[in-house]
Amino acid sequence: MKAYEQIGHRLQKAREEAGMSQEELAKVLGYTQSSLSNYELGKRRLYVSGLQRIGQILGKPITYFLEDAEENPANSENLEGILREPFLKDILYEARELKPAQRKSILDYIQWQKAKTGGAT
């Protein structure tokens, strides 16, 4: 994948994880939706200050957008193993019925729990 396609792909992923639509993020940034779409498609280049600002809004460091490796959870073998663990399949099944913003709240809650307990026990 070319550099800016990869950056755009990671941007889209971060936006979706944050439960924001293109329209919502574009509005916060002061971009048009079509500009943001071009960034996500890798058709326009984002530079240091722009990506730093987006990272601040989406809670990601600038390096997140530049990493070469794809996310491991996307690997279907890993995913199958993860789904066999207690409750995870049920959580995922229930979360499917929710809107992206609600899913983001649950993700935030899980991350808060992990931070509080110092990770899984």
Binding site: R45, T63, L66
Partner: protein, 380 residues
């Protein structure tokens, strides 16, 4: 709508540098071109100092009198018209300064930018390219290992314009090669730092007035405060500098092409065969008509790209188009120029011969023509 009409101040800048280029660059460049490879010519360093040239790149708060992008485009065209090699020396300083302007802190700018001001003619070095990476800016072999309070750099940058002359070096290195682009950082290295070493100056066919050398880094310690930009932002910083710089490379190429076309026109008007100047032959006259038309088109592309940079609008493709079109024109104009001049151009020393060798280098430097096409096509 983007306006392209130069202001009075820009016209004055153009007139001044047309004169200086004619008097101080053009004649001297032919002498340096014919001499063995060496460092920056003393006359060139004197011109940088006397004209306080670097101040035109530096914000007022750091002692400069900065030009806007359009004015820089006009300046670079005149420098390129006088000697593309001198323009390349100055462009190298521009690139290093751009790194600081984009990613540097106030403290970094305050410490390093005034070093480029007189006394003396000063230059800086932009150290991204490597022998094996070339245009692949995601895989640097130069590494930066984290140490207490800073980094230790090891590797080699090649070819680096201005070589051993740099007051400071802006260097790209990988702090974590496994992380690819996310592991790249940018550092400022003062010129006298222990561990910096240089090869002899390279011999090359074109841009012979621009010294290039390999910059070696052996256990060069750089404190944390000399890292530019956020952690892992080196790749993005490099892309932004190159996107800015390509428009100005285009301006430089327009200047070179203009000199070649003017020389060809001058010759074609003077050279009489079968009782008439050869410019009256349509084979020559039409060719020159095409070249001057393309020159106008190239300049318009350059000015448009510079305006887009100035307006902070998307300029990636515009910069690449300007660089691609202008450098290809420079190559074509000089090749046709030699044909028009015939044996008068195909000898040494001759201006057209030098221009042709310089023009080939412009097709390679700052991303080859193929790389420009990759950039343009990737955004279609």
């Amino acid at each position: 709508m983007i306006a392209f009409e130069p202001t009075e101040a820009q016209l004055a800048l153009q007139t001044r540098w047309q004169r200086l280029a004619g008097e101080r660059l053009h004649p001297r460049s032919l002498e340096i071109d014919a001499a063995p490879a060496a460092g920056i010519d003393r006359a060139y360093l004197d011109l940088i100092a006397e004209e306080n040239l670097n101040a035109l790149l530096i914000p007022e708060m750091y002692g400069g009198v900065p030009l806007d992008r359009m004015s820089l485009a006009i300046l670079f065209e005149e420098l390129g018209a006088g000697d593309a090699g001198f323009a390349a020396i100055f462009a190298q300083t521009f690139h290093a300064v751009a790194g600081l302007l984009i990613g540097g802190t106030h403290d970094q700018k305050q410490r390093f930018l005034p070093l480029l001001l007189p006394p003396g003619g000063q230059v800086a070095c932009f150290c991204a390219t490597e022998e094996k990476s070339g245009s692949d800016t995601s895989s640097f072999a130069t590494v930066a290992h984290r140490e207490a309070g800073g980094f230790t750099l090891n590797g080699a940058k090649n070819p680096i314009i201005n070589g051993a002359h740099g007051r400071f070096y802006v260097v790209w290195a990988s702090s974590d090669r496994e992380r690819g682009r996310a592991g790249i950082n940018t550092f400022i290295i003062p010129g006298e730092t222990p561990g910096l070493a240089f090869s002899p100056y390279h011999d090359k066919p074109g841009l012979r007035t621009t010294p290039t050398a390999t910059v070696f880094l052996k256990d060069v310690y750089i404190p944390e405060e000399n890292r530019i930009g956020p952690v892992g932002s080196g790749y993005l910083l490099l892309m932004q500098i190159l996107d800015w710089g390509r428009a100005l490379s285009g301006a430089l190429a327009v200047g070179l092409a203009r000199t070649a076309i003017e020389e060809a026109i001058r010759f074609a008007k003077q050279r009489v065969i079968l009782k008439r100047p050869i410019i009256k032959n349509q084979g020559i006259g039409f060719l020159l008509a095409e070249l001057v038309t393309e020159l106008e088109a190239a300049r318009t592309l350059v000015w448009r790209a510079c305006r887009l940079v100035e307006l902070d609008r998307d300029h990636t493709v515009a910069s690449s188009m300007a660089k691609l079109y202008a450098s290809e024109l420079a190559a074509r104009a000089t090749t046709e120029g030699i044909l028009i001049l015939g044996q008068s151009g195909y000898r040494r020393p001759s201006l057209m011969d030098k221009l042709q060798r310089d023009a080939q280098a412009l097709r390679i430097a700052e991303g080859t023509s193929q790389i420009q096409k990759v950039i343009i096509s990737s955004q279609l």
